[in-house]
């Protein structure tokens, strides 16, 4: 009832203000080798634009039958709010608040593992953040404060068996700072700082072995060129020093190299390739380590000369170090002014194959209705289900 009142209030305010409104309902069917479970989800999002203030409110309700001992079985309510205030042309403040509330009485199946690998039921998660972004001359300064508090309860009373006390909540407090300076039109340098302080309500969990505090700081250089070998090129190289009692020696000195090259082959065909490589240096063993890397290649082809909404996107993402391969293809095609269809296939080698088909109906420029079906087959034991089918019905509305 409360949800209905809140949603009605937002729709009413949407009618009076410049606003965007989106709602979708999903019915999911999960199947594993010995279990069949139904789940449901409702997503509501409203965005209000009032002069220099942009306010976004999002509410997600997720329900699933109990059946899997994993986060696939849950009753969760999520509220997201994000306010952005444009103080001046080059200065803005962002205030965000997320609340995740887990309905503990209805299901006990959604859990995380705590520091000593006991299953923990999260009761509530609060995430509040304040960000300030300022630009002047060639400088950009980004500063932020973030706080996260998680209330927990133990799913199984293992504590008696191993004779340890239990925590009631743990909190994380983040401080962020990033400063960039543009040397030329193509080159910029930057420095970053991030610190996290971890606190648990149980003093036993604050010992050094369970100290999750960290400090990251470093700097980098960024180069962009709009005409580099006929295309658009960007390169970013960063050094990041990471300090935490939880990190191994080889994780402390990190080097991250990112490059991206966009190329327009014909007016209808464009593509890009991006490469990310992360390696580190262990100053005790005097050795370099390859931590992770990824190559992504993607192309877009416009199917009709006169309509950019008719297109095909295909590509692959290869994580060489962690042996992960994903291939994807997406087609969007407007049948006429009112109807459009889209089809997507994502295949992750040895992990999953997902096919999504959707039909959009556009009544006018302000109202759209869509129906979507997603079918996912799992090939690994990472996913708790072998098969998942989700039917979604949704609307999008724009009020001006």
């Amino acid at each position: 009832m409360k949800k209905l009142i809140i949603i009605s209030l937002f729709i009413f305010s949407s009618l009076c203000l410049n606003a965007y409104y989106w709602n979708q309902t999903r019915i999911s069917f999960y199947k594993s080798h010995d279990t069949e479970v139904y789940g449901g989800e409702n997503n509501f999002m409203s965005e209000l634009i009032i002069d220099k203030l942009n306010f976004r409110f999002q509410m997600n309700s997720l329900v699933s039958e109990e059946g899997f001992d994993d986060p696939n079985s849950y009753v969760t309510n999520e509220i997201r709010s994000l306010s952005t205030y444009q103080l001046a042309e080059n200065s803005k403040f962002i205030l965000g608040y997320n609340l995740d509330y887990y309905d503990y009485d209805k299901t006990q199946s959604s859990f995380i593992y705590d520091w000593i690998n006991q299953p923990v039921q999260p009761l509530v998660k609060n995430y509040l953040y304040l960000i300030s972004k300022n630009e002047w001359d060639n400088f950009t300064l980004l500063a932020g404060l973030r706080g996260r508090a998680t209330g927990i309860d133990y799913k199984f009373d293992i504590s008696d068996a191993i004779n340890t006390a239990q925590a009631e909540h743990y909190d994380e407090f983040y401080k962020d700072l990033a400063l960039a300076y543009k040397l030329t039109n193509n080159v910029a340098i930057y420095a970053t700082f991030e610190n996290k302080t971890f606190y648990s309500s149980n003093a036993d969990f604050n010992d050094p072995g369970r100290d999750y505090d960290y400090t990251h700081y470093g700097g980098g250089v960024n180069f962009t060129s709009k005409n580099f070998l006929g295309g658009k090129f960007s390169e970013d190289f960063q050094y990041l020093r990471k300090d935490s009692k939880q990190y191994a020696d080889y994780q402390r000195h990190n080097f991250i190299n990112k490059l991206r090259y966009n190329y327009i082959m014909t007016p209808a065909l464009s593509s890009f390739v991006s490469y990310i490589s992360k390696f580190s240096y262990d100053d005790k063993e005097k050795e370099f380590y390859r931590l992770a890397n990824m190559v992504r290649v993607q192309a877009r082809y416009n199917l009709l000369n006169y309509n950019y909404q008719a297109f095909l996107i295909a590509g692959t993402s290869l994580s060489l170090e962690n042996l992960n391969r994903i291939y994807f293809a997406y087609v969007n095609y407007p049948i006429n002014k009112s109807f459009a269809i889209s089809l997507e296939d994502r295949y992750s080698h040895n992990v999953y194959n997902t096919i999504i088909a959707s039909l959009d109906y556009r009544l006018n420029s302000n109202f759209m209705f869509y129906i979507e079906n997603s079918n996912s087959q799992s090939f690994s034991n990472i996913n708790i289900y072998d098969f998942k089918n989700t039917l979604t019905i949704g609307t999008r509305m724009l009020f001006r």
């Binding site: 939880q246 190299n257 990310i276 380590y289 931590l291 993402s317 994580s319 992960n324 992750s348 992990v351």
Partner: protein, 81 residues
Amino acid sequence: MKNIMVLLLLFLLLFSLFACKKPTDKEYNVDKSSCNSCGECISVCPKDAIEYNLEGKAVIDQSKCVSCGECIAACPQGAIY
């Protein structure tokens, strides 16, 4: 300038591929340019080790991550490497 840049990148590429050792533990990261902030990885993480950063993109907290790979299967963008 362009030639120097190409040579430097080639050196970095070859260095990171052939001159570095492979650690015993896997480390997963998020490609921020591909992340669409859907939060699927956050909801499946069994260690509560993923949260949004200042830019609203998912970031894996390596101090808590145990490299189970659940986020890889959940990410609809294939943004975790």
